[in-house]
Amino acid sequence: MEKVILDVADLTTKYITRFGEDIYAVDHVSLRVEDGKSLGIAGESGCGKSTLALSLMGYYFPPLHYTGGEIIIDGHNISGMKPDDVRKSILGREIAYIPQAAMNALNPTQKIIHFIEDVVQAHDPTTSKQEIYTMAKALFESLGLPAEVLQKYPVELSGGMKQRTVIAISVILRPQVLIADEPSSALDVTSQKMVIKMLRNLMDNGYIKAMIFITHELPLLYNVTDDIMVMYAGQIVERASSKEAVFDPLHPYSKGLMGSIIVPEEGLRDVKLAAIPGVPPNLKNPPPGCRFAPRCKFARAACTAASVPLRELENGRSYRCILSEEELREAYAREDRQHGR
């Protein structure tokens, strides 16, 4: 078994709204990512996947608050550290973040190289500007970005170039873990592919050891990550290898989600798309028991009686449902027969 790079146990964080209400957007989430692996997180908007990305950084500012759990990066527990120490020795160095809206992620009135200088010197004030420039130039060139970008302001870069610049800056200190939150959703398909290629390149060439990739675009997730975790209402409902998650999902929610994938490939026109009725629950006041039960075709009384634990299967898969693997497969087969698939 490979070395575990990122080990998260029972992480729980909440938002405190202006009116003092708590919203548990990340509820007892545990996950592990091994050396050289990438983990994808899928889910509908509002399921807590972006909040999970923020929470994994171990550095919290309002309205997000930490309430419990552990984050261990390469054997180093960061959840007990002082915020200032996290900032200095963890952020950017051990774990780095690529934000959702990379278009605005760079200070508009600062040249790229000056921001890189600030990032490097925030962790090691002794590094000279010359050293930083040499380092940044080498990194940009090895990642296929022109070195002239360093001397430019963000407005002078195209959307795709801006996003790739942000990714390059994020790995300048060679962090172990990279967290990418919808890094390509605002880009056209070609720039999106370039971003994906760059992320793969980072993994393959050892710039980073582990990656967490968050997106609502499932075909993309399937192509980028080794494993996929499906989130629903702040909880993990299923975790499996990408192939299993997409082609053989177990949890009824995952089943619905994967059944709604549309790709321009032969035969897809004849498939009936899956649909899940209803809306996700309000996280201020989640339903008791299984949170998906109100929308689930297979729901029964027991589902709402008590909270449903995550079932671990032998091959490392897990899912959160009171039905067994066999029961679920049987139900799905019955459905397929009905639709004549």
Partner: protein
């Protein structure tokens, strides 16, 4: 540099266009008013002066200068020619002084008082606003209501309050004039000291008025910037808050500079009234004398000069903005 040049030319063109518009307005507004302006002015002349020879001289001068019986466009050309020669005619109320002479003796006082005061007020206000946005909490809760209240005090109100407290009660500073009434302007230390002492109250009253509005504006700009994505990203890259605040301040300051350019006219307006309270020998007091003396040429020239001053200040601020915002220089790339 191409981007900046384009920006510069653009602003210069706009400056010239507004200048022409200001000339036209200054010329046309008094003539648009109902009633015969000549008759009105002549009747005012009679009550404004006792010196018959003076009235006659001014009347002839006036008829010559304004060419009142000629067509509008000729009058306008005449007006333009006179303005460009710096010839505004004689002052009704201070005859035989010329209008140009009256303005010459007051304009430096106004420039020397108002622009430094507005700039100092702008700087202090913006610093306080940024600090309030960043620190929030009790600092914000104290600074903000005070700022809101201060920004709502009329400029003359602040002037009177300062005058009564520091001039009348505490007797720290003189209450009126630009220098001691017993002095004649010269280059002695005594005179400069007197000017400096007389400068304090008008200066601080304008500064205090400016601070409030600027602090409020800066605070909301900075709060907006603090929620920007680059702040979140910079935090997650481990950059210190102090540095991030510097980013935020710089970015929030840029719209504040544009705001200053747009509101400098209003500020100067308030400050002119404050001048009157202190009998400061600037353009504000000149307007007051002109109004009291029904001195039409002086009013017309003073308002024109103030407009030109404000337009020039506006232009200068826009130029500074062009240098400070790198995006303008970068604009050439597209």
């Amino acid at each position: 540099m191409k981007g900046y040049r384009k920006y510069f030319l653009n602003k210069l063109l706009w400056f010239l266009v507004t200048l022409v518009a200001a000339f036209i307005l200054n010329f046309i507004l008094p003539r648009l008013m109902p009633g015969d302006p000549v008759a009105a002015i002549v009747s005012r002349l009679a009550q404004g002066m006792s010196n018959t020879a003076g009235i006659q001289a001014i009347y002839e001068q006036y008829a010559e200068q304004f060419g009142t019986n000629r067509p509008m466009y000729e009058q306008f050309l005449l007006y333009m020619r006179n303005v460009f020669q710096g010839d505004f005619g004689f002052s009704f109320s201070q005859y035989p002084r010329t209008v140009a002479d009256v303005i010459r003796s007051s304009i430096l006082w106004t420039i020397g008082l108002q622009f430094p005061a507005i700039i100092v007020g702008w700087l202090i206000g913006n610093s306080l606003g940024a600090l309030a946005a960043y620190r929030r909490g009790s600092f914000d809760k104290v600074i903000m209501p005070i700022s809101i209240f201060m920004s709502n005090l009329p400029a003359f109100g602040m002037a009177v309050v300062l005058l009564v407290i520091f001039g009348v009660s505490l007797r720290w500073f003189p209450t009126s004039g630009g220098y001691g009434f017993d002095l004649i302007p010269n280059f002695s230390l005594k005179f400069f000291w007197s000017v400096f002492v007389h400068y304090q109250l008008p200066f601080w009253s304008i500064v205090l008025i400016t601070i409030g509005g600027q602090a409020i504006g800066m605070r909301s700009m900075a709060i907006y910037e603090l929620n920007a994505d680059y702040v979140k990203y910079s935090r997650f890259m481990g950059i210190k808050d102090r540095k991030i605040v510097r980013y935020v301040f710089r970015n929030a300051m840029l719209p504040q500079i544009t705001g200053l350019a747009l509101s400098v006219g209003t500020m100067v307006g308030g400050a002119l009234v404050a001048e009157i309270i202190f009998s400061y020998p600037g353009l504000g007091s000149t307007i007051l004398t002109a109004v009291l003396g029904q001195d039409y040429p002086l009013i017309s020239a003073t308002t024109l000069i103030i407009t030109i001053m404000v337009l020039a200040a506006n232009f200068a601020i826009e130029m500074v903005y062009g240098i400070l915002d790198p995006r303008i220089k970068a604009a050439q790339a597209d």
